[in-house]
């Protein structure tokens, strides 16, 4: 499927993001046999995808001290991070592999950034009209 799907901007009711309307998409994350339904924030300003620590734990993943650490920037600079490859699905699009910086930080949402979410999807933002649209790049289904 290569159609364009429209999503609404979502108001957050939790502090400190109270009053914010953000581009969240429902997403399912899969690691082995475990599947987790959650929401991810589209962030064109992020160089990469970021996964909160607890989400990884809920997927049954274990922190691997042998993996090469990633050095993030901004508010995440003080949180350790390591690479994580997950199968993700934003319905109704086909599942695909998304690479995350798995951060030992639980305050953040799941962040979908340039590498490699925006490399795989075209997104049109219309905050003034409270919607955004996603269309996947043509990829081979898993």
């Amino acid at each position: 499927m290569n159609s364009t799907i429209r999503f609404p901007f979502t108001p957050s009711t939790l502090p400190p993001r109270r009053g914010s309307w953000l581009p969240y998409v429902p997403i399912s994350l899969r690691a082995g046999v475990r599947v987790l339904q959650s929401y991810a924030m589209l962030d064109t300003g992020s160089a990469l995808n970021v996964l909160p620590f607890d989400i990884g734990l809920q997927l049954g993943l274990q922190w691997d001290e042998n993996k090469a650490p990633l050095e993030l920037t901004g508010n995440l600079a003080n949180s350790a991070a390591q690479p994580l490859l997950l199968i993700c699905e934003i319905k109704p699009f086909p599942p695909l592999e998304l690479i995350f910086a798995w951060s030992r930080n639980n305050v953040i949402p799941i962040i979908l950034g340039q590498n490699n979410f925006f490399m795989n999807f075209d997104v049109l933002f219309s905050r003034a009209r409270d919607f955004f649209e996603i269309a996947p790049k043509l990829v081979e289904p898993i």
Partner: protein
């Protein structure tokens, strides 16, 4: 009020081609003042006006009336956006790893090396 200053542009505008030439529009009177408004209890329901019709009327308003309209719209938007407005006492965090290019490159290499065999 310098209403006449605007009239030269009105004739050339397609927006006002369909406008009635009668200056006393039944929707908005460009020369109305607050004092001239009826008491609230005597206001009759406002008829439905399409956005295009409204634009035509706004186009012929006097400059000062346009400023008043602008103030009204801004006040309306401020009310609407009250929950979203920024405050000096608020904390607004930005989590974007904005320029984490080294980490992004490391992820690309990891993706290339592990493509087809995701973490479990």
């Amino acid at each position: 009020m310098q209403t006449n200053e605007l009239t030269p542009t009105l004739e050339a505008s397609p927006l006002v081609d369909a406008m009635p030439t009668d200056e006393t529009s039944p929707i908005i009177d460009p020369i109305s003042t607050d004092e001239a408004l009826p008491a609230p209890e005597s206001i009759t329901p406002i008829p439905t006006v399409s956005f295009d019709d409204l634009l035509r009327v706004v186009h012929i308003l006097a400059r000062s009336e346009k400023f008043r309209l602008l103030q009204f719209v801004v006040a309306e938007l401020a009310e609407y956006e009250k929950e979203e407005s920024l405050t000096l006492s608020g904390t607004y965090e930005v989590w974007s790893p904005l320029d984490a290019y080294d980490a992004a490159n490391a992820l690309s290499e990891y993706l290339e090396a592990h493509k087809g065999s995701p973490d479990e």
